[in-house]
């Protein structure tokens, strides 16, 4: 989409705000709508938009495919690891009460960490699936549609 000037300019302006909004949804999920899953999808969608406008090759320079092999399992490990941490601290699996000095503080900490894990995995999977599809086709010409 090299010659779509409006799309290029508008998406370049929007992408930082989409990423920032994803972080807001991620870390504000306790208070407003949203959470790890939605944040991950929005974060991934920003990269998908970037790849659509500037091409998959350029997007893979910004987000190397090798990162995905780390990000995708890392999120699940953060989630599972939180459970193990609460086991080691004397609680039951995924019982956040024991993670901090007070049970309420522990719940807050546990929820934020766990949601972060969900967000990391979802971001990675969205981008991985998109790269997997997009990497198989050559650049699409406008008259192909």
């Amino acid at each position: 989409m090299r010659h779509h000037l409006i799309l290029r300019v508008v998406s370049k302006l929007l992408i930082p705000f989409i990423l920032l909004y994803a972080l807001y949804v991620q870390f504000h999920g306790d208070y407003g709508p949203g959470g790890g899953f939605q944040a991950g999808v929005i974060f991934g969608a920003a990269f998908v938009l970037y790849a659509l406008i500037y091409g998959v090759e350029t997007a893979q320079k910004a987000f190397p495919a090798s990162w995905l092999a780390i990000l995708v399992p890392l999120g699940l490990l953060i989630f599972g690891g939180t459970g193990v941490a609460s086991l080691l601290l004397g609680g039951t699996y995924l019982d956040y009460d024991v993670l901090a000095a007070t049970p309420t503080g522990g719940q807050h900490l546990g929820i934020i960490v766990v949601e972060f894990g969900v967000g990391v995995t979802v971001t990675g999977v969205i981008i991985a699936i998109f790269f997997a599809y997009a990497g198989r086709t050559d650049d699409i010409q406008d008259d192909d549609w």
Partner: protein, 195 residues
Amino acid sequence: MGSGLVNVAVDISLMTLLAVTAIGIIRSRHLFATAMLSGIYSLISAALFVTLDAVDVAFTEAAVGAGISTVLMLGAMTLTRRSEKHAVKLHIGPILVCLAVGAALIYGTVEMPPFGSTEAAGFKHIVPEYIAGSRDDIQVPNIVTSILASYRGFDTLGETAVIFTAGIGVWFLIGRRRREDEEDEKKTETPGDRA
């Protein structure tokens, strides 16, 4: 009373748009149009979820249904042909089954509690405990988050594992194929073998 009328008008117009979009999806043979229409369908569904005060669900529907899955549909489409081969013939049997199931579902809604009723069975069992617990023990204003991440932590861990598995599966199935193809092309001298 006035806001009630507005709600009904919004519901009716959104439902009408939803039905029109669905008919458009069925009638279109052009897969690009179908993919875009299903994105529109998701967006209208998201608006409906907002009117039902299910903002978290609306959020997900807008991001996943209207955003990502439309792009993935288009991506999958570039790997195949762009339009359906044959127009689907009208089959009487499946239509009758659909009508019967639809009628049964509508009949089932007759006995459902009214929308937002606190007497509904779903609000009787364990939900009061979750609401009180979110307020007093967890102290997280968004009850959806406290249920998903804390009360139903095991479910969410399982869901994350499902997403993880889906991503790994797609990546291994089609993610690395192209590089291997290129290597195959370098290795094999006779192009006829690859067909």
